[in-house]
Amino acid sequence: MAVPLLKKRLAKDRCARSVMLALTVLSLLLLVAMGVGLYLKSEMILDRYSLWTLLTTSDWKPLKGSFGFLPFIASTLAVTALSILIALPISLLTALYLSEYAHSWTKRVVFPVLDILAGIPSVVYGVWGTLIIVPWIADALGPHFVDYTSGYTVLASGIVLGVMILPVLVSLFIEIFTIVPQDYRDAAASLGATKWQVCRKVILRKSLPGIIAAVVLAISKAFGETIAVLMVCGNSASIPHSLFDPCYPLPALIANNYGEMLSLPLYESALMFAAFILFFIILVFNFASRLLLRRVEKRYKL
């Protein structure tokens, strides 16, 4: 009597196991499928032009058959660099304060604020950018530096993106700082170090690999952000020469032209190539920084 029941239970267990394994493997294949799918789609344009020409020329006239990605790549790099420049000092100091100085009630107030900031949809950031940042640059800041700017600029995109990656960076930094063992802080303090000295010489130095990994993660998030940047970047396919020039990052390029691209196979292939570049860079950045973060965690957690 008991034996058939046991057999049934074991069979159920094995069955569940294989279903779960299949689901896991399938979801992992998604990553591979994405890479292969996008690559196959961009093969057409890679056959026509060399990779070097695509990446280093700046003439973008898809209807006449010239596909120079340089303006988009330059815009992406400029906007990303600017956003990190803005977000890094603010988030580093905020995270240090929260993990080293703040009372627990401060944390109880600040963490929900960070959660909310992280949860706001990117389109809302975009609306905020067009209402506050763009007019501010066009009317208040811009005239001091250049004759005319529309406000839809590299600077506006950098600021909006910077604010978007702030909560990501702060929560990653706090996680990294809490890994540093308390003993190190106590030892430094017993030698007469002030809190700031502890922060600078112990916390920051010990968590440097983690900080680098977090920044790389933030970079890859900034790389792929689409809709908010699309709304404030100005969408002009030329290499930006100053902070007050409009720009046109890769995700915005893809999002803006998805409607028209179907008429021209080569155009479609070019846009899929843009998606492939994004995918590839973000894949590499993510793998590298996640592996680095894991090593950091392992070193202290024993």
Binding site: K12, L28, M34, L38, L131, C199, G224, T226, R294
Partner: protein, 280 residues
């Protein structure tokens, strides 16, 4: 000297924290101030009428319903796909298993892939199968997008499962599959938080659905019709030259922000309530 440096940097830290607060305050106030005047009952109960995009009457019900359809369906599908994965790596695989570690790494990476890439990828698949932009396409891409969020945040909780609890279950003769019934009570708060987190991200995503769900002024009645979404509706209204339409974009943005805020508050409350059964 060193005390001066300490004070100086402390002040700098407080300042930067205030900057973070100021940004959030500025965003919320801006959306509220610009969105409230254009907010009306018609906004949430009416479909866009003829000439809606040049300032005539109507609302964004099409986008609200479209977003709800997509988010609802993909949340259910996402849960169905990710709960087994989380149990597999936490209960069937050993703690130091290489496969589990690789799976976690892959989901971390998938989590980092931007939604525009998901959108472009799903779009190529849809073309391959001859599908047009549709509700189904939107549901598929959002499901794929939120599975990593589900897995990551549920796994966070599942990893804390006390080993003793599982061992006690096995010692009573339970199979691993049966142990899940015990484990699920411990993971419940994690599932609730993960669900709300995913809904928040799913409802706010624009780049993914842009290619796949398309846009329409009516409510879709079957899976192969295109569907409007709230973020895209905001985006399209905002690019209109008519001031009235842009004001309605602000009102829609206010609506979206409110939905996300309410979700995160409910999330906190649920996490608190479901934590009752949890062994610390």
């Amino acid at each position: 000297m060193k005390f001066f440096a300490d004070k100086f940097f402390r002040a700098l830290m407080v300042l930067s924290m205030l900057i973070v607060f100021a940004f959030l305050g500025s965003i919320l106030i801006t959306i509220l101030k610009n969105g409230w005047p254009a907010m009306s009952w018609d906004m949430v109960t009416q479909l866009p009428g003829g000439g809606f995009y040049i300032g005539k009457e109507g609302g964004v019900l099409n986008a609200i319903v479209g977003s709800l359809y997509i988010v609802g369906a993909s949340t259910v599908l996402g849960l169905l796909a990710s709960i087994p994965i989380v149990f597999f790596i936490n209960i069937y695989l050993k703690k130091e298993s290489r496969l589990a570690s690789f799976v976690r790494l892959s989901f971390d990476v998938l989590y980092g892939i931007p939604s525009i890439v998901y959108g472009a990828f799903a779009f190529t698949i849809m073309i391959f199968f001859g599908l047009r932009t549709s509700l189904l396409g939107g549901i598929i891409v959002i499901t794929l997008l939120i599975i990593p969020i589900f897995v990551r945040s549920m796994d966070e909780v599942a990893r804390q499962l006390p080993k003793d609890l599982l061992d006690a279950t096995y010692s009573l003769g339970a199979t691993r599959f049966e142990a899940i019934k015990v484990a699920i009570r411990q993971i419940l708060p994690g599932i609730a938080t993960a669900t709300l987190l995913s809904i928040g991200r799913a409802i706010g995503d624009a780049a993914g659905v842009m290619f796949t769900a398309g846009f329409t002024d009516s409510i879709p009645t079957s899976l192969d019709q295109p569907a409007a979404t709230l973020p895209l509706s905001i985006f399209f209204q905002l690019s209109s030259p008519t001031p009235e339409v842009r004001e309605r974009a602000y009102a829609s943005a206010l609506l979206l922000t409110l939905i996300v805020l309410v979700l995160s508050i409910i999330g906190r409350m649920i996490t608190y309530r479901f934590s009752k059964n949890k062994i610390k």
